[in-house]
Symmetry: C3
Subunit: 138 residues, 3 copies
């Protein structure tokens, strides 16, 4: 079995931002030399996500607007914000979008469908966060 | 390490439909000859899901009704629909339901609980889509 | 390849409860002797979740309150409850929170970020349920 581990550092420009990381994950797969296996990509933080969807600006804004309706920032609404934080909403938003993806590696490449792109979804940004890429296989 | 890869083709009858694919995944595990490992089942499209829940008609309709409330079709509401698409809602619905499942394989079988069934959730159907089954183990 | 499988039994005190299982999963990793690989932790039931977030009492209550808004218990609202069940809401709540997590194992430990804790989320409790921990690697 071969194993590859890489930590990405990401610092978003905005508080809430959706960043395409597909290219970096593809490079990691190439660098790993793994031909067949599974690639795990996960946020190492509890206020951000890794998810797969379509690369289209309108859609990314739809996600952000819709998440704000489902889970408003609304400081006074959330008990967690009594601890000195103001990011309760970000914990809940990330839960909707998911922490991680597992992508198949086939013939040395990410086995993605035609529209699948891998995104980092930041909901409490403007500070350095980490994403883990781990690949196991042969 | 043993590896098994299979692509399912699915064309739903309705635009929105929940289809039980447990039997096909079970057959794939058997065919793979893998006794211990992980089985990844994922949609290769960004407007459909793979998820695990209960096989019960009322519940499947509850999911469909509830998703329509959380993320209405509402053409004019979504920026993504300005690109010529009308499926913004399907991208968001699939996000709630999830892209993939990872199921343990133990003693040559999917290690599922008593009520766990694997479903393909289609939110923009009536055309051919693909699901990936990939199993790694020994 | 090394493989480790363990079934946890969990019986919640309340109908809806969020229980930190990080310590048990860490012990499983140690017991497995696996240094590099993937650790799958999943609920074996369709009305409960395994997810990763922050260990903070206010936040756990925020999750419970918010899920009740998104998916009220409301017996008469859900078709699934016509089967003699009253837990339709629990099937939908668990879908929001997720069935499983896949966590990297690096240098013999769960490769978690500083605030990541693993939780079992019960939405139809007060009876014995099972969680599966499966680790593959070397």
């Amino acid at each position: 079995m071969k194993v590859y581990t890489r930590y990405l550092k990401i610092k978003s420009v905005k508080k809430i931002e959706i960043i395409n990381i597909s290219q970096t994950v593809k490079e990691a797969v190439k660098e790993s030399g793994i031909k067949e296996g599974f690639c795990l990509v996960n946020s190492m933080h509890v206020t951000s996500s890794v998810f797969i969807n379509d690369e289209e600006e309108g859609l990314k804004q739809d996600f952000i607007n819709w998440l704000e309706e489902l889970v408003p920032y609304d400081f006074d609404r959330w008990l967690h914000n009594k601890t000195g934080e103001d990011n309760a909403h970000a914990h809940l938003k990330r839960t909707i979008m998911g922490r991680e993806v597992v992508v198949a590696v086939t013939s040395g490449k990410l086995d993605l469908g035609p529209w699948e792109e891998i995104f980092y979804g930041e909901f409490d940004g403007q500070r350095e966060k980490r994403v883990l890429i781990k690949i196991i296989g042969e």
